[in-house]
Symmetry: C2
Subunit: 343 residues, 2 copies
Amino acid sequence: MSASSPAEAARSPGHAFASVFALLGPHLQELDRFLHSQLSAFEPEIRAMADYCIDTSGKRIRPALAFLSGWRGPDRVSPDLVRVAAVVELVHLATLVHDDIMDEAEVRRSRRTAAREYGATAAVLLGDALFAHALNLATQFPTTEVCSAVSESTRRVCAGEIMPTLRRGSTNITRADYQRIIDLKTAELFRVSCFLGARLAGFSAEYVDAVSRFGRHLGIAYQIYDDLADFFGEEKRVGKTLGTDLASGKLTLPLLQLMERLGPAEREILTAEILGQRPVQHGLHFRQMQEHGIFASVSGEVMSEVEAAAAALEPWPDEAPTALLLGLCDVLRSQVAALQPGS
Amino acid sequence: MSASSPAEAARSPGHAFASVFALLGPHLQELDRFLHSQLSAFEPEIRAMADYCIDTSGKRIRPALAFLSGWRGPDRVSPDLVRVAAVVELVHLATLVHDDIMDEAEVRRSRRTAAREYGATAAVLLGDALFAHALNLATQFPTTEVCSAVSESTRRVCAGEIMPTLRRGSTNITRADYQRIIDLKTAELFRVSCFLGARLAGFSAEYVDAVSRFGRHLGIAYQIYDDLADFFGEEKRVGKTLGTDLASGKLTLPLLQLMERLGPAEREILTAEILGQRPVQHGLHFRQMQEHGIFASVSGEVMSEVEAAAAALEPWPDEAPTALLLGLCDVLRSQVAALQPGS
């Protein structure tokens, strides 16, 4: 499929992922070049550490959203979009550096986390330096708009990430809490990536608004999908490793729905497991999830957010980004379908 | 001493501290009001935590530098200066929240640290949220200049703080390393506070530059003074609690100078103590510091930076901030004199 037929790419679910990202090849290469060129801005003493964090193996979803939302055609890579893609990616990388300290994670993307490599203390400061540089890059536009939007989003992302830490080891998280948490911690940065891409490309205020709403719904859908994959991903099928979220006491939508549907005795047992008072019975809960139709129910919620994302763009079929962004919806639909137990 | 005679206040060492800060009473009150008004910008879920961090018992040195550097007279409190004072104070508070996690500090300013109160995980994110909001406030000026300067300074402060963490448990820090660390971790935010105060008040580029150099030298002087006070402060006189820096393996100027002056055998013992391989002999090192004239030598370095700060302003005796900023030099001179053993 050629890079010059984005609309065609968007209409071919399954192949959509490769197609959309093939389109963005030159953009993502330019982004990597730009990110590496930024290392010289860091003080020499921390440059190697910053380099370690700016690795190129990530999915670059937020930069992709910025590039696609500002799409004007395949022929040019806008320096403004490259810069803003770097801003949102650096904010995301900074949050990963801090997340990995808190989760005591050893490995991310097949290499040691910054916290493991340099120690937790240095990793806190390194994350701070990445945040600071992201916001410094955001000031390198003619107006304060980019920096204002990104700093506000960053604060909201942090707020969303604090909430579950305050309640970890508690089973009192409601569905409304879960919605609010993922809206802040994931959907916010998706939204602002789309907003800034479209805004910098000079689209109308109405279209920028539509693209922003698209980004928010796609972010919610993506996070629910990610939480679903924790229970139904490839290596979870055998029922042995079901739910690293469950084991770490994180309450996500699949677990919340299971709790709602279990009888009182079963719910009490699951609660005790979440609180770390009993060993986790992976096989049992995998069977319970199947019995209670949790996959269908949660994947239905992903799909409904994907539809809401697509609906935001419906009035704008002819704007260049629309077909590409709808292609991302297809990507997510395919990914959910691939999780289907027995698929 | 009336608030209308700043020049007189500046020429009265000893009383200078109270006088300069009395002048700033209305400004610091306005700052506190402004900081509290900012709480509503934080997401409801983290507002109480942000409130806890924005306490009013700090010394507010960086805001004072911004207000004094932008001084045009006692009669008006400029909203721009209040906003920028809030920005530098929030950046400073965020670094304190993160510092206290890393130092495992339990108490700061007579109350539990945020890390102790909310847990290290929440404190990492809370510090991030404070940083993000500081930079968001910095975008609320007509141009990107404030946000650009503050985000760059923040990155430099982080770099300065990472360096000693990478070398903790090592005695290989040179004087040049020490100078570089304090230049970044302390002097940078002093410098930018002065720079922004003078800049927002509309002073000439030459004077803004002079005031910035003043701020940098004052920051270096202040940090060396602070490190000196760790060994010669009020409660250290009895020789029992000498050097919490020594006990935590931090190499500061008094220790570096002592190391240089000890014979090989004594140096080996001190090195082993710094590396945590032997219990710290507080009384012994206090006597060694006295024998080797460490107080005189280190306080000489403070004074020389204070003089460099004052010299930066010498060509500008008639600008309104000059006398007040020179008053801060007197404050620091008095504070050093008060540390003098036997004083």
